[in-house]
Each structure stands twice: as structure tokens, then as C-alpha cells.
């Protein structure tokens, strides 16, 4: 059991982070807090993906002596898996785009209701 927990500890932490972010998204009433929760949530998922890429004894996915003349055989096992990194680069971009749009909408809401608390906005009777 202990071994089981130790061998996957990165995943446990990502689950904890994801729960924190998820709670921030649906449990908090302040709109900016929701956006912060969203940020944490998405980062947690990125952490999960990067964790899948990790490889014991692997180094960065940038080929050493890449531009040299000697073309040695490249061992795939000695480099970290690059594919999740690529996916997560895209996901980070999506994250920041969503962040920008969310903040723009928050500002639009604030212009209209002059508050950021969801309950107070609902009192306005939309």
C-alpha cells in the first residue's frame, strides 16, 4: 500500500490541485476568484500531462550534439517523451486565451453591475 502511494505521488498531488481548482471554480462566489480557480484547475491538468512524460533517467528532449557531424544512434529511452510537452504548450496557450476572455467578460460585468459578487449581481434581477 505504501509502495503504491509512493510510486504515483505526482498523480495524487495533481488530483489534490485539481480538486482545489475545481472547488474554486464552482464554490467561490467572487468572479475573479472563479477565474483564479480556473487557472489552477487547468494548470493541474497540465501537471498531469507533464507527469506522464517524465522518464526515469531521461534528459531534456533536445538532442545533444545535434548540429555536429557525427550521427550517433539516438537512444529514445534516454530522452524525456516530447509529445505531452507539445500538447501542453498548446494547452497553456488555450489557458491564457481563456484567461484573457474571462477577464474581459468580468470587466464587462463590472461595468454593468458595479460589483463582482455573484449573489449581488443576481439581486439586480438580470
Amino acid at each position: 500500500m505504501f509502495d503504491f502511494i509512493i510510486s504515483k505521488y505526482n498523480y495524487w498531488i495533481y488530483i489534490v490541485l485539481m480538486m482545489i481548482g475545481f472547488y474554486g471554480m464552482i464554490g467561490k462566489k467572487n468572479l475573479i476568484k472563479k477565474v483564479i480557480g480556473m487557472n489552477i484547475f487547468q494548470t493541474a491538468i497540465i501537471l498531469f500531462f507533464i507527469s506522464t512524460a517524465a522518464k526515469r533517467g531521461g534528459t531534456l528532449p533536445i538532442i545533444e550534439h545535434g548540429h555536429g557531424h557525427e550521427m550517433q544512434a539516438i537512444e529514445a529511452a534516454s530522452y524525456v517523451n516530447p509529445l505531452p510537452h507539445v500538447l501542453m504548450l498548446t494547452a497553456i496557450v488555450v489557458m491564457v486565451s481563456t484567461l484573457g476572455v474571462a477577464l474581459a467578460i468580468v470587466i464587462a460585468i463590472y461595468k454593468r453591475y458595479n460589483t463582482l459578487e455573484e449573489e449581488e449581481i443576481l439581486k439586480h434581477k438580470i
Binding site: 503504491f4 510510486s7 504515483k8 505521488y9 505526482n10 498523480y11 495524487w12 488530483i15 489534490v16 485539481m18 480538486m19 475545481f22 472547488y23 464552482i26 464554490g27 507527469s51 506522464t52 512524460a53 517524465a54 522518464k55 526515469r56 533517467g57 531521461g58 528532449p61 533536445i62 538532442i63 545533444e64 545535434g66 548540429h67 550521427m71 539516438i74 529514445a76 529511452a77 530522452y79 517523451n81 516530447p82 509529445l83 505531452p84 510537452h85 507539445v86 500538447l87 504548450l89 498548446t90 496557450v93 488555450v94 491564457v96 486565451s97 481563456t98 484573457g100 476572455v101 474581459a104 467578460i105 470587466i107 464587462a108
Partner: protein, 93 residues
Amino acid sequence: MRILALIAVIITGAILIYGTQDMPDWADPQSPASTHVSPRYIEKTLEETATPNAVTSVLADYRGYDTLGETTVIFTAGVCCILILRIRRRHRK
């Protein structure tokens, strides 16, 4: 409401923990994720794209269409911000 959120969060966490049990160990070099598709990227990146950085070659070439989508996403975000916020103020004179 807050209790409901907490319950939803805990259910999600429980499902995730349930799913994690069957995952390969962390940083296992023999996991399917590291053996099925990805080795080719590392082994062939120099040969096929003349780019030592495997991440760049995958990003812009092997999966270049994703990157086009990614750039479109950010472009969309920029135009969205303009669309939502920007107001043209009339000339006073």
C-alpha cells in the same frame, strides 16, 4: 450551494483516485506513453527535420496543424477581447 460544490469536487476526486490505481508508475520508462508513438519523434527529428529540439519539431511540423489551431485560439482571444470591451467613443465636436 457550497456543500453541493464540495460534494461535486469530492466525487470528482474519488473518480480520479479510482482511475489512478491502474496507471503505470510515475516516470516508468516502459509505460505505453513512452513506447508507442513518441520514440520516433526523438529518433527521427534530426534526420527528418534537421531540428535538434524535438519539442519544436513536433510542435511546428509533425503536429503543425495543432499549432495553427493554437495560434488561431490566441487570435480568437484577442479579437474576442476587442469585441467584448472596445467601445468607440463618438467625437464630441
